[in-house]
Structures are given as C-alpha cells and as structure tokens.
C-alpha cells in the first residue's frame, strides 16, 4: 500500500484503531532492521553523521525507490540563523536531499509553512540555498494547494493539509529538537504543524491530542531528528546563543514516538514527560519505552 492509497483508505474507512496495523504495512517485508530500532549518530560533520545514520537504519534504498517523488519536511519556521537552532540544520537537510537524489528519486520537494515571513525563513535558515545546491526542489507554500482531508482523530476530525505531502510517494521528516512553551519539547510529531493549512493556531487548545491525530494521518517513511544543536530555552524560536547546546547528534528511525522519546533524554527529560508521546504510545503509533527498542549508537 503506498501513501496515496493509505490516505484514501484512511479517509474512507476511518482510521481508528486500525492505524497501527496499516502503518506496519509500509515497512517492506524484506526489512532486516527491526521497526523499533533507532540510530543515534554523533560526530563533528552534520552531513557525515546523517549519511551514516541513514546507512545504519537500512540505507536510503530501503526508503526511496527509483522514480519516487519524495517530500522532505524540515523545520523552516523561523527567521533565524543556523547557529540559533530554531530551524533544521541546513547541512542535514542537504545531505538527505542528496541521498534521495542519488537513490534515483524523480523529484525531492522541500517546504514548510513558516511562522515568520516565509522568504526570510527560507533564506536566513540557510535551507533554501543548501537544498538548491543539493539538487532538491525548494518552493514556498502555495495557498491553493491545501486539501481538506479526514483526520478522524479525537481532536481533529478533518483539516486542510498541503497536497504535495498527501500526493508524495515517500515522506521524510527532518525536525529539530527544541524547547516549546506548551508541548515542552518540539520534535518529530510537532513538525507536522508545518503542513497544516487554515488557522492551525487553534490546535494549541488540545495540542497533545492534535499532534497525535496529525501524526497518525501523515506517516513518514523515515524520520531524522536533527540534534546538531538543540534549543533548550525560549523555544521554539530562541534567538540567544545561550539557549543553544551543541550535541552533534542526529537520530534516525521509522518510529516517530521512539525518536521523540529518545529526543527528550537530550534535554534531561523522559518520553513520558511529554503528553503527546504518552498519548501516541497509548494509541499504538509507536513505542515510548526506550528499553523496548533497539538503539544503535554510532560515533564518527
């Protein structure tokens, strides 16, 4: 079942509890790496550790096939510089774009619905330039391309979602790990706010549940959490270098919940401290308990 089919089926049948089993089906039968493994790669070069992490989780060919239209979703939400750690590290994004191109992807699209002014976010984050150089297709959000799809969650029943992510063959989520005033931390699951149309600010009224609903509907083929620099305060946009901590780490995997649960430990927290991680675990979206997953550590 491909992504398009999945979303169609989810729409027709209603996702409900059948989601976890549906999710399993995206993992190819021949996979030798367990679904609940994550790779934690550490090292000085962001692009090197990104490539190594993808390799260790099964190699890019496991996720991207020749001719695929791939969507890469970094966080480009803020008018901040890379060293301020408010947006995904441009080198990490570029490395993933390059991997996908090398794997024979037909097109690699990169976008985000920004919070600050879009032109500044794309430029100042360094992501627009990096993606262009790597051969990806980075474009601004086109407001005509949101399509209302059924979410059928507990908080979100339906929502306009950017059609390019619905229509993509493969989706790769590349969030950055940051502090957040309400969610406490924003990582993989919260990154999906960047594909929501409409007045997405309203979801803060039931943020944890909304993020779980959203993450159930948009399933990434692969998630790479950027923790080259993490933002420990005044998130999610920071600004002061005092709040930035250099970790030189990326975490790759398929299980968004496991990744966010591991990400919490970078801030001295646990997965269960985060409401959306708890809810996602309960809903069967992934595994919060780090003792139940295989953590492959790489140091370069």
């Amino acid at each position: 079942m491909d992504r398009r089919e999945f979303i169609k089926k989810a729409g027709i049948a209603g996702i409900g509890l059948s989601v976890p089993t549906s999710l399993h089906s995206i993992v190819h039968a021949s996979d030798d790496v367990n679904k609940t493994s994550i790779v934690v790669a550490t090292g000085e070069s962001p692009s090197k550790i990104t490539r190594a992490a993808v390799e260790a989780i099964g190699g890019i060919k496991r996720f991207v096939s020749k001719g695929d239209v791939v969507v890469i979703k970094p966080n480009i939400g803020w008018d901040r510089l890379p060293e301020q750690a408010a947006n995904t590290n441009p080198e990490v994004v570029a490395a993933v774009v390059k991997l996908c191109m090398d794997a024979g992807a037909k097109k690699v699209r990169v976008f985000d619905r920004t919070v600050n002014e879009a032109r500044r976010c794309y430029h100042q984050s360094g992501i627009a330039d990096a993606v262009k150089k790597a051969g990806g297709d980075i474009r601004h959000i086109d407001n005509r391309k949101f399509r209302t799809i059924p979410i059928n969650g507990k908080a979100l029943k339906e929502w306009p979602i950017y059609s390019e992510i619905i229509d993509a063959d493969k989706v790769i989520n590349i969030p950055i790990a940051k502090h957040h005033g309400l969610a406490k931390l924003t990582m993989s699951m919260k990154n999906w706010m960047g594909v929501m149309g409409g007045s997405r600010d309203r979801i803060h009224q039931k943020l944890d549940q909304s993020l779980v609903d959203l993450s159930m509907a948009i399933k990434p083929t692969l998630t790479i959490l950027d923790a080259i620099r993490i933002l420990t305060g005044n998130g999610p946009q920071g600004g002061s270098l005092d709040d930035v901590k250099k970790m030189n780490t990326v975490i790759a995997g398929i299980d968004q919940v496991a990744i966010d649960s591991y990400g919490a430990t970078l801030f001295g927290m646990k997965g269960e401290d985060l409401g959306y991680v708890r809810l996602a675990d309960r809903a069967g979206l992934g595994t919060m308990d780090l003792t139940k997953i295989e953590i492959i550590k790489l140091s370069l």
């Binding site: 032109r119 100042q124 627009a128 005509r144 005033g181 009224q205 039931k206 946009q237 920071g238």
Partner: protein, 523 residues
C-alpha cells in the same frame, strides 16, 4: 530626434519600474539595488527637505546633477527622463483631443503650487511629496496600481487553475511561475486607501485626455522648479527666416512653449521634446547651444512663461504661510492625544521630526515584508497623510528585518543595524483578559508566547488553576507581558487566534522614539 527621445524615456521608465519591482525582499537583509535612486535625483525633495528639516541625506546630492543639467539644458528631465512625464506622454498620444491647448493661463498654476510648497517647507511643513512627481508615482504604484495588477493577474491564473482543463493548467502554471519570479509580488499586497490613491493617479493620467500632458504643463511642482532653473539654459530654440508661422509646431508641442509665435518661445515651458523641429515643414526650427547667430529671432523673450502677477504670487505665498499653523492646530501632535494605533516603523524619528522629513513616497510600505506598514489617512493629522503606520493585525514588524529604514529616502525612518533595531520599542503589547482564552475561557493557548521573538521572551506564561463550567479545575498558562522586554513588534497580535479584535494588541505607548509617550520609569 523623436526616436532618440522616446528611447531615453523608455529606458528611464523601464529603469524606474525595474527598481520599483526590486523594492521587495528576497529574504536577505538588503535588497541589492539602490531602489530609491529616482528620489535621490529629485531636486524638489532635496530643497523642500532641506528647508523643512534642515538636514539633507547624502544621497540627495545626486539631485545636484539634475539641477546642473537643467541650468545648462533646460527641462530635459521632463521631456526625456521623468517616468511620470513619460506616462503622461503615452496617455496624451492615445488621445486625439489632447492636442488642443486649453489656456496658457493654467500653466502658471504649477508655479503657485511650487511656491506654496516651498514656503510651507520653509516653515517646517513637509507636504511636497503629495505632489512631487517621483514620490507620487512610487506611492501610486505601491499602494494602488501594483496591487491592482497583482490581483488581476492572480485572479486570472487562479481561475484557470481551479476550473481549466489540465493541459491548459500546465501551460498557465508555468507562465504564472515565470511571472512570480519577475513582475509579480511574493504575495498579494493590500493597502488601505488603495482606491483613494489609485483614483488620484488615474485622474492625473485622465487629464491628458483634456489637454496634452496636463499635469506636466499645469500642475507639476518639480516641473515648475526646473522651469525656473532653466532661465539661463544655453540649449535654446530659435527659428530661421523660413518660418511662416504655419502653426504645425504648436500642434505637437508637449509643453505650453508657444513655439508657433515668433519671439514668444517660452523656455521655462519647453520640455525639449524636439517635436517642433521634427514636424516643421520648412525645417526652420533650430535647437542648439547658445544664441544662434543666424537666428531670425534675436532678442527672443525667453522668459515669457514666468510672469506670475503680483496677486497670484502673494496668494500662493500667503497660502504657504497660513497652511502651517492651520494644519498644525491639531491635538494629534501631543503624545497623550495621539492615536493609540499610530505605531511608527522602527527607526522613525520623534513624531514632529518624522513629519518634517517623511515625503509619503510609500517606499517603506512597498518594501514592508509583512505588508503591515500602511498609509495613514487622518491618524497623524492632515500633515501626516499617507505616512506609514504599522497595523499588526495585517502584518507585524519582522524582528530581524530592517528594510523600511534602508529604503527611506529622507531619513524619516533611520537605517538601523539588526542589533540596534531589536532594541527599539515601537509600542507595547497588552492583554485583553476578557477575550484571552486562558484568562476568560479556561482554554489553553500559548500562541503569543510561542511567537514572541525577543530572547528572553517578553511574553511569559504564568500557570493558573481555573475552573470550567462543570467546575473542573484546569491548569492553564496565562500570558503576561514583560514591558521591559516587549518591543511592540506586534507578532503576538498578528498571530493571536482571537481574530479581528485580538486578545493581545500593541499600541504606541512606550515607544522609545518619544520622550512623552514612554511608559516605564527606567526606559
């Protein structure tokens, strides 16, 4: 000669449009082009700003080039360079009727207008920009014509996108994407008073159907200034013995220069379009440097155009004097009485100084990356009409953007570095607890805190236990504003989920440019 002139007009008009289109951010901290160049070359703005504010931006010395050029060559700026003049020229060409000359008397009006502006700026009132052609053109394009063009183009492509067959959509979308990268703005601009400023501009163009280049001949204060400067120009016109006063040249004259009456050629009204020379059936027109010895018309009265008459002169001077106290007897200039919504862009001088410099050209509004800078109508008094005001509900002040100060031609908005800009308070945010979700409705929301750009954040959250209707206790985080840290950028107001009358909003109180309007004791 006509083709040469048209080429020059075309080049300058295209250059003007190019710079206008470049007055838009691509995400970097600067624009990469000297977008206000045409204003820098405008001697009327140089003189009036010098008189009103006793200060001159360095770039304005470029306008000395136009002054020298006019002193030597006459009003070639009007005929060969001015982009508004070229537009008027084009409109006149479309209209047959415009060939008539309504009345020579009208052409004096522009001198009265010029005197009125010069005298009022002598008494520190800067309203010249309302009628200065370059300022008027940029303002009209920014606030009205360009938004109109964008709207129409977008509507057309959106209609095809939404309803057309897919083969057509593929073609139209690739054209659309090409236009987006060249002539369309990043997003549709919207401005208050786009209709008002647009109608004024369209009327100016429409007047060409009444009389050829009506604006240039009769109203333009810059044209009047250049007319005065052209008095001793060495590029002059004369006619040889072959002239039989057939009147063919009067038909094509772009100005009110009376080329058909011997000895009556009015240098100050001549825009050096060369039409008379081109059309003359007897080839009797001589346009050249110095008094042509072979000229039939020795002692030609080249100053015939400027004979203003005592009554008109006194009236325009008196109007220029009286307008100042008239326009200033308004409570708007007192801090306590100023409109709370009068949030000036960061770097704006204290209000009185600001108004002495702002020429209402609209550059800052055109460049404002969020479209938040809007033209005032009466919020700053009549004196401040069309000056920039930030309307956070439409667009906040982007924290790290400094473009409005960069494009301001007169220094009304100072150019600030990013480091300095983020310390400038343009106002302060305050919370309307009656509308705020965590305060009034026991509903979680932290959007204002999330988007607050200062570090540390000016909007902070205080945990509070509130009861909902069922009596359940809910812990919410209620936003508070740290007035010391808040810079009034308004992103909280812009992003507040309570639309149309947000639960957090900025007013100008606390703005650092004004000593009277500050709020905190130790600011």
């Amino acid at each position: 000669m006509r083709n040469l002139r048209r080429t020059s007009q075309g080049v300058f008009l295209l250059g003007f449009i190019f710079l206008f289109l470049q007055t838009e951010s691509k995400g970097a901290d600067d624009l990469g082009y000297p977008v206000k160049l045409f204003l820098d070359f405008d001697p009327l703005i140089l003189i009036s700003s010098f008189l009103s504010s006793h200060s001159v931006q360095k770039a304005f010395y470029l306008s000395l080039i136009v002054i020298i050029m006019t002193v030597l060559l006459g009003r070639v700026f009007c005929g060969w360079i001015c982009p508004l003049g070229t537009l008027n020229n084009i409109m006149s060409s479309i209209s047959k009727k415009s060939r008539r000359h309504v009345s020579l008397k009208w052409s004096k009006s522009k001198y009265y207008i010029l005197i009125f502006f010069i005298i009022s700026s002598l008494f520190s009132l800067q309203i010249t920009g309302i009628m200065d052609p370059v300022s008027l053109l940029i303002r009209s394009f920014s606030l009205s014509i360009y938004p109109l063009f964008n709207y129409a183009t977008r509507a057309m492509f959106d209609t095809i996108y939404n309803t057309g067959p897919s083969s057509l959509v593929d073609v139209s979308e690739s054209v659309y994407s090409g236009l987006k990268q060249t002539v369309l703005s990043f997003k549709q601009p919207y401005f208050y008073q786009s209709v008002f400023t647009g109608l004024i501009f369209i009327s100016i163009l429409g007047l060409n159907f009444y009389e050829r280049r009506f604006w240039c001949r009769n109203l333009c204060p810059l044209g009047a200034l250049l007319g005065l400067l052209s008095r001793y120009a060495i590029l002059t016109r004369s006619v040889s013995e072959g002239c039989n006063e057939c009147g063919a040249c009067a038909e094509v004259c772009q100005g009110h220069a009376s080329p058909d009456v011997k000895n009556e050629w009015k240098k100050a009204e001549c825009m050096y379009c060369w039409n008379c020379d081109d059309i003359c059936p007897n080839n009797a027109v001589i346009l050249g440097v110095g008094k042509n010895s072979s000229s039939y018309s020795t002692g030609s009265n080249t100053n015939a155009g400027i004979n203003l008459g005592r009554r008109g002169l006194v009236t325009s001077i008196m109007s220029g004097v009286v307008i100042v106290p008239l326009i200033r007897s308004t409570p708007f200039l007192n801090a306590g009485a100023s409109a709370p919504d009068l949030i000036r862009p960061p770097g704006a001088l204290p209000e009185k100084e600001f108004l002495k410099r702002c020429i209402k050209c609209g550059e800052c509004m055109k460049v404002c990356i969020t479209n938040g800078l809007q033209p005032t109508l009466m919020e700053a008094g009549l004196e401040g009409i069309w000056s920039p005001v930030l309307v956070p509900r439409l667009g906040y002040c982007e924290y790290r953007c400094t473009l409005c100060g960069q494009v301001c031609p007169t220094g009304a908005i100072q150019t600030l570095s990013i480091e300095k800009k983020i310390d400038v308070k343009i106002g302060l945010a305050m919370i309307d607890k009656g509308r705020c979700l965590p305060y009034a409705h026991a509903t979680p929301c932290i959007v204002c805190e999330e988007v607050c750009p200062t570090s540390k954040k000016a909007v902070w959250l205080q945990k509070a236990a509130v009861k909902n209707r069922r009596g359940d206790e809910i812990i919410v985080q209620q936003p508070r504003v740290d007035l010391k840290l808040c810079i009034g950028c308004g992103i909280c107001e812009a992003k507040c989920p309570v639309k149309n009358r947000p639960a957090i909003y900025v007013t100008s109180t606390g703005e650092s440019r004004s000593l009277d309007n500050r709020l905190l004791l130790n600011q």
